[in-house]
């Protein structure tokens, strides 16, 4: 949403928000990187010359950095004069309340330009070895620093550098943790597709509820209102995460019972009812189904959307008979959900088997469950589960709405009553 709108108050008893595409930076959810203002860019450029500029101005320059105490520090090769350092860094140091001569000088073995050339050559060579993580011209040690995942690769990398003629003492090779791209519930292109990630249809975003096989059909379940029309099958195509990211639909809606008036417990008049806000979509490619897996973040209720692993569905809540409608967990049970907007949230069941009117519609969802936990737009369709062991969970149902600080879900038994038997793990 637009998080920094320009507000403008109108008449008493009337509230107004003014938004603008360019002014006041009301960026949409897909936030673009901030661009520093030209003034800021000029200011920063004039204060600290680039390494290349310092190399031009300081004979014997080997690197510049701030040490652990924040002291400006320069490497100079043997025999180089200090005076050019003071001239080149004078304005930068004065601007920080320091004298031009306050920079610390360390003796370096290698010149900056030489290290730059070696970094380019080492990059070419080192990345031919599997498990190379990074190649850095490290200005803090006046050396090339190379990180590898596996210590067994160190010898291979060093041999390659030797063939290029890099001095052995110009390079430090060490073990490093691999750099992993952080995937978000909103942006990940998840194949096979786990529950909890963003799906897109029409002009809407929802969350994938859970993967399920119906007969032989490899499918997923999401909310009924996460189809082109709530109730009734319109062959809604689904994209993941967005049709603009992957133009091939991953699945098509195949089951979404109509809302009807004659269900037991449905109010008289023009109200229409169902036991679940759930629909099933058939994967275009069955291999895309990650049966039994729910994408997870590192902890509940911390606003994180970064995927750190998966929950594994090992059981389902009760289903199969009318006695199971409403689910089998009592109020007070702590349950969770993973959805594209608020991630993993969890809290206690506060109400069970609630006949729930949907704001702004004629719909009443029969025998639903309320949970005191966070929810926001886009979480519809989320899987709801109970942790039975980590990472094992019991599948409980499909989230479809929010009421204040609670979310509302259709219990698994209600879903099965309307969509038929489902294999979820």
């Amino acid at each position: 949403m637009y998080r920094t709108p320009a507000f403008r108050t109108a008449l008493a008893a009337a509230a107004t928000i003014a938004i603008a595409a360019c002014q006041d930076a009301p960026a949409p959810t897909a936030v673009e990187p901030a661009v520093p203002s030209p003034a800021l860019q000029r200011s920063q450029g004039s204060e600290l010359p680039s390494a290349a500029e310092l190399d031009r101005q300081i004979p014997g320059f080997g690197g510049f950095f701030l040490d652990g105490s924040g002291a400006p520090t320069v490497y100079l090769t043997r025999g180089a004069s200090r005076a050019p350092v003071d001239r080149a860094l004078g304005r930068y140091l004065n601007g920080r309340g320091l004298t031009a001569s306050s920079a610390r000088v360390l003796q370096g073995r290698f010149g900056w330009a030489q290290l730059e050339r070696w970094q380019i050559a080492a990059t070419e060579s080192a990345f031919e070895v599997a498990g190379t993580v990074f190649v850095d011209n490290d200005e803090t040690i006046n050396r090339i620093r190379i990180g590898v995942e596996n210590p067994n690769a160190i010898g291979q990398v060093r041999a390659g550098l030797a063939r290029l003629g890099l001095p052995d003492d110009a390079v430090i090779i060490e073990r490093a943790e691999p750099v992993v791209q952080v995937a978000s519930l909103r942006t990940v292109v998840d194949r096979p597709v786990r529950a909890g990630v963003q799906i897109n249809f029409g002009g809407y975003l929802c969350s994938l509820g859970f993967n399920a096989t119906s007969g032989t059909q490899k499918s997923f379940v999401t909310a009924s209102h996460c189809t082109n029309t709530q109730g009734g099958v319109e062959d809604t195509p689904y994209y993941q995460p967005l049709s603009s990211v992957d133009t091939d639909a991953i699945a098509t809606e195949v089951d979404d019972p109509a809302y009807v008036k004659n269900l037991p417990g449905c109010p008289r008049g023009n109200r229409v009812c169902r036991y679940s806000d759930a629909a099933r979509a058939l994967y275009a490619d069955g291999n895309d189904q990650a049966l039994g897996l729910i994408a997870r973040t590192n902890a509940p209720n911390n606003n994180s959307l970064d995927i750190t692993g998966s929950f594994t569905i090992t059981s389902d809540d009760c289903s199969g008979s009318d006695d199971d409608i409403g689910g089998c967990l009592p109020s007070g049970t702590v349950v969770g959900k993973v959805g594209r907007t608020t991630g993993w949230t969890q809290g206690a069941i506060t109400n069970t088997c609630v006949n729930t009117g949907v704001s702004g519609t004629r719909i009443v969802q029969l025998c639903q469950t309320f949970v005191s936990a966070g929810v926001a737009g886009g979480d519809s369709g989320s899987d709801v589960f109970q942790i039975t062991g980590d990472p094992e969970v019991k599948l409980l149902g499909i989230l479809w709405g929010g009421s204040g600080s609670s979310f509302v879900f259709s219990p698994f038994a209600n879903v099965v009553k309307e969509l038929g038997a489902l294999t979820t793990h």
Binding site: A15, Y204, A376, S403, F407
Partner: protein
Amino acid sequence: MPLVFRVTNSGKESVTLYLMGRKPAADFRISDEEGRVIWSRLRGQTILGALRLYPLGAGQALVFRHVWNGRADSGGIVPPGEYAIRGVLLTDDIDGWASPPAFIRIER
């Protein structure tokens, strides 16, 4: 008392709003002088949790209207005093997107 909540794109380009539900929805919330919310149009209502990508053209506005009957959620007529009224657009933010307050004074 008529309440109006207007969300205007005052810029020169279309923007896409991320709105909770199948249709754009907004709450009106009225707070007393202590800051306690004494009335909310959507209190107790369940809103669909889909997220609608809603384009709002330059100069266009979403307008929400409601008539408040002067009663608190408890059902009673609110006592004289000053009250703050906010419109809250339901979005993908868990707290929604609230307007600054407009103030009214109720006198008897």
